[in-house]
Symmetry: C2
């Protein structure tokens, strides 16, 4: 893509309303624009990041056997009355009435709707287990929306729901999701540590939050370093085998990890001192087993092998997709701008033509751009070199291909790695090989 | 995917509320479920169709240089007041108030928001032209929602917006979109004929609706057969060259085509009788040039080459993505069920194991399924053959791979083409070659 024709408006000024780095950088790098309080439009570069995150989330959901559906954003109040949450939810639920005066709401979560959809179709225990998920916009009417997409009102979430015949099967579903989550976050280029979360009246240990470590995180966190050293992608877990799932799950949960709310000083003392890590974290995921709470209250049952009806066991599993864009930036930026992990970067590389109009730089830049016009952003603008350097650093492309007139005469390109500031002077072919295969 | 584990609930009964074929078939084939009046959830098979349509729409938008953005569903009333449409829009606009009593609405279309976003960033004529699009859910509070997704309340649309410096440049943008639309619909496996539409006070001929021909269409249509014989994918149009665009556009618009609203009996007389086609059509797209209507009312201008500010010229371009699912079915079904065009089918083929548990049929089915578990739906259920035949016809997979015990003993598979009912007895390798390359 040629920057001269692209809609990638960067800002030089630091927006006054943005209090944290990710919010400032998302506005400055032209990823988002606010359209109302806590509501954002995604510009082309921001949308590319969002889509990259969605793609990885979907691949890992599919890999553990979840099937994608899509529920509407506008829901009827009816199932929420059945579950008892319509009155309980409070002012964060955006309630509305249509022209026929029917009570509707903009879904903040989807337990009620999915339980209803499942209940309409499922008749027998033979149709279990089912794991259904969606990636859909939700709305929570925050009193004080702030921090950009980190606490916006309209936000994109992946929400999954499991339906199982027995507690044991529900536990297996929970463990599969734990695996999917650890793999997802690792592929996104960030470390998210699973922390035991409050299970309320349900009890047990089947509730975990996933927190990305970042100094601006909203929660204090305490965890065993073992949890951030693991390579979850290399783990060989057989998701069809309950014993394999159990071994994996025990390995995760044996290491201490808790937010300040759930911190247990006595257990913390038992972690070897060299392994103790304290810091702050941003919640980007939550998995939760809640048994028959919704199937019971909404009257959903299927027939068991013995002919008797029973209420399926459920769990729900969320990932804050739009929030992740901000959280990744909080975890990966410097004073100059964003530092995108390769897997989510809007563009793999920027090509910086330091002297547009020069036959040598133009020729090399065109050659580089033609190699992958979709993944390479060609800065062909008639701007000073300094402007191009600043914009490329600000936008955070993993690689920069810098083409100046002197080196170009010798057929050379300067390749810069954004994260490390390493620089290499290479031929065009070598530069492409480095950027495309790294 | 194995049908025994999939969430693909088909219905035997014909749903009483569904008046037209596509609505009945979408419910029966397990594509959608209604969650409120005119609001639907998309089950896995339906979502696959929706995603296939989206993918083709995006590819053709990108091919003419449009860039994807994403605007929120919830908009502030403010820009709608500026444009004058907030009061004009009527009861189809879903209006709401948040907890701070701010006036919001669920966007039925996005001219105001995109003009605002564009205006915040664009400063100079050098940043033109721009073509921005999104694929996003919209809401129109229909008084009597019906016909399933064909006239639902929450619906998915692709909407694009062009910004140009001059009328001539705006015309070129319009022509590019005409090309993108004709290519999109052809790739979707349907014929959509562009018909001159009313331009209201703006005048000129730069407004076209695209109608898919189907007996249940809401409009009568009159058109020259030349328009459905053209292979738009084979046309060699240089989208950077205004003369090439003009030649293409003249070729489209020289043939008569109009809905009954715009029908001109005199012009119709001039179409050779053998070329005249009359029928009914479903509107699935609309392209529209409207000049400076929004840039003027919303005070958006950029600086021209002469230093003087001017209001950019705009056009907007919609495709009804969720409506297309219904429209394609209206155009392509029979008494037994849906007949999916290959490009949008949720699964390329169904594998029908007529005797699960038989060593020969099981082995062949597993072999077929392993060849492409994502694109092949394996009906491994313990159901009678008749149930499997009916469900496969109902779901409308382009191909069926029928594996019965007798043929299986000889390593043979019966391949059925859904659209033509052609049948072939083939070896496993031949069957795969036929289905995967056809």
């Amino acid at each position: 893509m040629r920057l001269s024709r692209a809609f990638l408006p960067t800002l030089k000024e630091v927006p006054a309303e943005a209090q944290i780095a990710s919010h400032r950088l998302m506005l400055r790098a032209g990823l988002i624009r606010q359209t109302s309080a806590g509501i954002y439009a995604w510009l082309p570069a921001g949308l590319r990041v969002l889509r990259n995150i969605e793609r990885i989330v979907r691949e890992e959901q599919n890999a553990v056997g979840a099937q994608e559906v899509l529920m509407p954003t506008i829901q009827s109040a009816e199932p929420w009355r059945q579950s008892g949450r319509y009155d309980a939810y409070g002012p964060e639920m955006l309630r509305l009435r249509d022209r026929q005066d029917r009570e509707l709401l903009y879904g903040p979560t989807n337990e009620e709707v999915i339980t209803d959809i499942f209940g309409q179709s499922a008749k027998s225990y033979r149709e279990l287990p089912q794991m259904l998920y969606q990636v859909q916009w939700k709305f929570r009417d925050e009193l004080r929306p702030r921090f950009g997409v980190m606490r916006g009102r309209e936000f994109l979430m992946k929400d999954a729901y499991s339906f199982d015949a027995t507690y044991e099967a529900a536990v297996a579903s929970y463990r599969r999701m734990m695996l999917a989550y650890l793999r997802t976050f690792q592929r996104l280029g960030v470390r998210a540590v699973p922390m035991v979360a409050d299970t309320g009246p349900i009890g047990g240990n089947l509730s975990h939050e996933f927190l990305i470590l970042a100094p601006t995180g909203e929660s204090g966190v305490f965890y065993d370093a073992a949890l951030e050293e693991q390579d979850w992608l290399a783990q060989d877990v057989d998701i069809e085998d309950d014993r394999s799932l159990e071994t994996f799950f025990n390995q995760v949960t044996q290491s201490y990890a808790a937010t300040d709310e759930m911190h247990d000083a006595q257990a913390w003392e038992k972690v070897p001192e060299a392994q103790r890590r304290e810091g702050r974290g941003i919640e980007v995921g939550h998995i939760f087993y809640f048994g028959t709470k919704y199937t019971e209250s909404m009257g959903v049952s299927v027939t068991g092998a013995d002919g008797a009806p029973f209420h399926p066991q459920m769990g729900s599993y969320g990932i804050g997709v739009s929030r992740l864009v901000g959280a990744i930036i909080e975890a990966s930026h410097d004073d100059a701008g964003v530092i995108w992990p390769d897997s989510v970067a809007p563009f793999r590389a920027a090509i910086l033509n330091l002297k547009p109009g020069d036959a040598d730089t133009d020729a090399i830049c065109e050659q580089l751009h033609a190699a992958d016009p979709e993944a390479f952003l060609y800065d062909d603008r008639s701007e000073r070199a300094g402007v191009k350097f600043n914009d490329a650093d600000l936008m955070g492309h993993p690689w920069q291909l810098i083409v100046g007139p002197r080196a170009a005469k010798e057929g050379k390109v300067e390749v810069k790695r954004r994260a490390t500031n390493e620089r290499f002077e290479l031929s065009v072919a070598e530069a492409l090989a480095k950027v495309q295969t790294a």
